[in-house]
Amino acid sequence: MENKQPSFYEEAKGNGISRKDFLKFCTTMAAMLGLEASGVGQIVKALETKPRLPVIWFHFQECTCCSESFIRASHPIVASIVLDKISLDYQETLMAASGVQAEDAYKAVMAKYPGEYIVMVEGSIPTENEAYCCIGGRSARQILEEAAANAKAVVAWGNCASSGCVQAARPNPTGAKPVHKIISGKPIINVQGCPPIADVMAGVVVHLLTFDRIPQLDGLGRPKAFYSRRVHDTCYRRANFDAGLFVESFDDEGAKRGYCLFKMGCKGPVTYNSCGIIKWNDGISYPIQSGHPCIGCAEEGFWDNGPFYQHLPGVKGFGIETTADKIGVGLGVATAAGIAGHAILTNVRKHREIINAPEPASETQTTKE
């Protein structure tokens, strides 16, 4: 690795990206991050002058769908600049190096840029037995703890690294834990989704580079720019929800007319993500637009909050199909039965009391209850 790091723009020029395309990319990113017009200039300047971010990108218990999403980012510049350059250091799926060379690469980053490099994590970390996920003879936890110790920040890509995803679903055999439950004392950015939207990932990287600090986060550690709105609140089918027009089954007239998928179990109302605005695959569509309810993949524990096609989650301990409503009705019936029994008993008691009351003849008798 050379000492003088080329900037993003220099790399881009070398890759044949025109100035115009470069500026378009910067403008797109500024818009996505919700910056004001002056933010575009800041991004341009940062990408022109700043050396690339030293990044170590780990794959732990995951399916690589975050990487897959990232390399399919809608804007070509995202893939050719951001991804290529940050993955140079260490990215298990995409780097050419392997074995000792690969290990040396990330150790070199840690030695060369202490306090400057960013650790990006895909996947959860097993804690039940750390041997469930080992790389180069060391466990995921050891690797992460070592790398995070001198990192500037940790980016948790996707639901696995942010909240455990499918590995942490009950009964969680590997004791899978997200990054923020392993690492403390470091800024951690949870970029939620299974996978996160490519443009959101690019946006986070650009923000880190431009402003040298982590983006504003919400209570669950997610960048506010992308996760402050529910899918439901930005859904193009929202008007149907407010109008009370719902799809009742996947083949009905409502489904053809594009009504709201709320009753088909859509988790849009409980899921925070930008799917409705940024969309997927170069802004072509997103699940709801394709006629399928949102499964809430950007929320913690979405595998356990099923079934996917039921609006309210099943109540644990009563079987997967039991909802709070079924239990509520059951308790209501039980209460009514209890009341009926009590009322009968009360009437028997009251009847006795009346029978035992003094007869009309006596005038001022005092009955004690």
């Binding site: 008007a239 524990g301 309210l312 209850e369």
Partner: protein, 234 residues
């Protein structure tokens, strides 16, 4: 003609603010449960039209939110009245800190629930068990307000709902917040069933006019009960 003459005294138990609180609360709970249930399980009453023709579901949600604000401020007022009202509405009735209250709870269970004992319950306001149940409902009111405004916060810029925004991450997301909110709704429904029945029961058995006391504020209390209350107060 069966009749009897019992020395009784009328006692002003429920002041006007308490009665207003009660009926506003009752109305809000009915409206909130109906609209809330509809929001969770909407009816298929409109179909085959375009969205711009209708807004019924939006209206249902609007009614739910407005009622929620009324419910919340009414609840806050009742907490205040727990420190400002008369002896029957004060906070210490509701939290069983005294041995006497626990003893009365056991008595009420024996006398009124199981009907195995015959013993007068000397409370003039709520009995100890009823008070404790109301305390539990206040906790449910609080949780319901927290979860409700917590979900509402994400679509509001108003100051009040924003105060509750922390509850969603605290419970691990909207889905858990919503589930809890939904389960607690059943708490309200079950409470209402039992509450209405027990009012009828007490009126039927004790004949102190407990039902109308929440309208007029006065209860008929036997002289000897009042005497015993005065003695224990001394």
């Amino acid at each position: 003609m069966r009749s009897r003459s019992i020395p009784m005294r009328e006692v002003h138990v429920w002041e006007l603010p308490v009665r207003l609180y009660h009926w506003i609360n009752a109305l809000c709970i009915v409206v909130l449960c109906i609209t809330g249930y509809l929001i969770g399980a909407p009816l298929a009453i409109t179909t085959g039209t375009e969205a711009y023709h209708n807004y019924w579901f939006g209206t249902v949600r609007f009614i739910h939110f407005v009622s929620a604000f009324v419910f919340f401020f009414n609840f806050l007022f009742r907490i205040y009245w727990g420190f400002a009202g008369n002896e029957f509405s004060r906070w210490y009735n509701f939290i069983p800190l005294k041995r006497k209250q626990w003893q009365e709870m056991i008595d009420v269970i024996k006398v009124d629930v199981l009907q195995t004992a015959k013993k007068p319950i000397d409370s003039i306001g709520h009995n100890a068990l009823a008070s404790f149940i109301y305390f539990v409902t206040f906790l449910i009111f609080l949780l319901q307000s927290l979860t409700g405004f917590g979900m509402y916060a994400a679509m509001s810029n108003a100051f009040l709902p924003k105060l509750f925004a922390w509850i969603v991450p605290f419970l691990g997301g909207d889905i858990h917040t919503r589930q809890l909110h939904h389960i607690l709704m059943w708490g309200f429904i079950l409470f209402s069933i039992v509450h209405v029945y027990l009012v009828f029961y007490h009126d039927y058995i004790e004949r102190r006019g407990v039902t109308s006391s929440m309208i007029g504020g006065w209860k008929f209390i036997e002289e000897d009960v009042i005497d015993r209350n005065n003695q224990s107060a001394k």
